[in-house]
């Protein structure tokens, strides 16, 4: 299959790589139909995040169709042919954190947890396509992807909803939503809009808010490069 591979700092290429295989009984193989590029992928591209290796497949926001299941997936939860959005965090579903719906803190999905513990004090869950410190999982910017613990993460999508309307559920929408919740953003009479981070994340936060008839609009101008990108997006010049 073809996959987008990180080949060094500021070097990406599409390579022919082996098709993914079921490695554990709770895995599934997804045929990817849509995949996104996240702002944090740019940190990998720019070479800011350690523990990348040449040849790593990137991509943590993807969706597609289930084509193969491991032997211990409950058929009531997931079957071949289901259309699913795959969250960027990999969660086992049965540790203390998963049982408290803190999926991104799962204890059991980062095989290199000791590296993350050394660097950050505690390891988060494994992530798709985001350095070996966070598991080294092959990501979804490819034709097929292996999804571990497929009975926990993947979200089934009913027929009739196009990919573009749901693919953001994999990362960007819940991340932006969590930011809004953590900042205790609430509706008020005068609906101020706050655009934070004018990269895709900021754009998504913006689309969720009710249209403001009055009230001020604030922009985080902390990065002029980000601001320019945001302006290009609104003009429709979106190279991604």
């Amino acid at each position: 299959m073809k996959a987008v591979c990180w080949m060094g700092k500021e070097k990406m290429s599409v390579e022919s790589v082996p098709d993914p295989k079921i490695l554990n009984p709770r895995d599934a193989i997804i045929r990817v139909t849509s995949t996104c590029i996240c702002g944090s992928d740019l940190h990998l591209y720019d070479g800011y995040i350690p523990t990348m290796k040449q040849g790593d497949i990137l991509g943590h926001e993807f969706m597609g169709e289930v084509v193969e299941l491991g032997s211990r997936i409950n058929p009531e939860k997931l079957k071949v042919g289901d259309r699913v959005v795959v969250p960027f965090t990999i969660a086992c579903g049965r540790c203390f954190f998963c049982q408290n719906q803190l999926w991104s803190c799962c204890d059991n999905t980062n095989p290199n947890a000791w590296v993350a513990e050394k660097m950050m004090g505690f390891s988060p869950s494994g992530l798709f396509g985001y350095t070996h410190m966070l598991g080294g999982y092959a990501g979804g910017q490819a034709q097929y992807a292996r999804v571990p613990f497929a009975d926990v993460g993947p979200l089934k999508i009913p027929a009739g909803i196009p990919d573009e309307k749901v693919v953001f559920l994999s990362d960007i929408f819940p991340t932006g939503y969590m930011g809004a919740v953590n900042c205790e953003l609430r509706y008020t009479k005068r609906r101020h809009r706050l655009h934070l981070g004018l990269r895709p994340r900021g754009s998504v936060r913006n689309t969720k808010r009710l249209p403001a008839r009055s009230g001020k609009s604030y922009r985080d101008r902390s990065s002029s490069r980000t601001l320019a990108y945001g302006q290009r997006c609104r003009r429709g010049d979106n190279r991604f």
Partner: protein, 245 residues
Amino acid sequence: MQSETRPRRDRSNHNSNSVELKRWGLLVAGSALAVYGVTRRSKVGLSLAAAGGLMAFRGAKIGAQPRELRAQTSFAVNCSPAEAYQVWRSFENLPLFMRHLESVKSIGDRRYEWTARGPMDVEVRWTAEIVDDHENGRIVWRSLPESDFHISGFVEFRSAPGGRGTIVSVSIQYELPAGPLGKIVAAIFGKDPEFTIREDLRRFKALLEAGEISTTDGQSHGPRSILVAAMHAAYPERRKESERE
């Protein structure tokens, strides 16, 4: 945890005077020779420097490796003490999460034959017996005195406060045998035995909670650089067939 029957040879914290003299003598003489060789700025000087460096290196190695090592670690596991005890008590399960073990076979009468695989597929075998066994509480094992390799360990299962499952604590204590066997054992347990058993315990937790151990070994990737390919060839991740179904 102390072993009562085997003799305690405590060479870990102090070395005898003659060993110390030899160590420092080699270090100082070797360093001096190396510095002299470098200042000579000739082929002879280079070989003297190399010889001096080798002497200093050998001196540094003497007495630096402790002969008796112990490691202890704990993890909170989201299951009952009984479930954790059941999995651990069947010692045949240990190689599933203890990567340094090849197999553990019961030979009756609470005795087990343990096999570990070192570099170049060299095997180390020892026989151990269960000395103490409190159901859902504690298991203590110890190698038999006639084994080549002396190791003992215990595992404890305690209910975690707040109903948060079980705290599993593991401690092992082993003695590096002299000679080549010692080098193999050191390679099996690694430079930091606490790291080895902490990762073993992490895999035990994953096995009990998630039912499988997460891995990325065998997944797709693009072309690796020569350095990374060499690294993977030198340090392959060892997964046993029993971990996959």
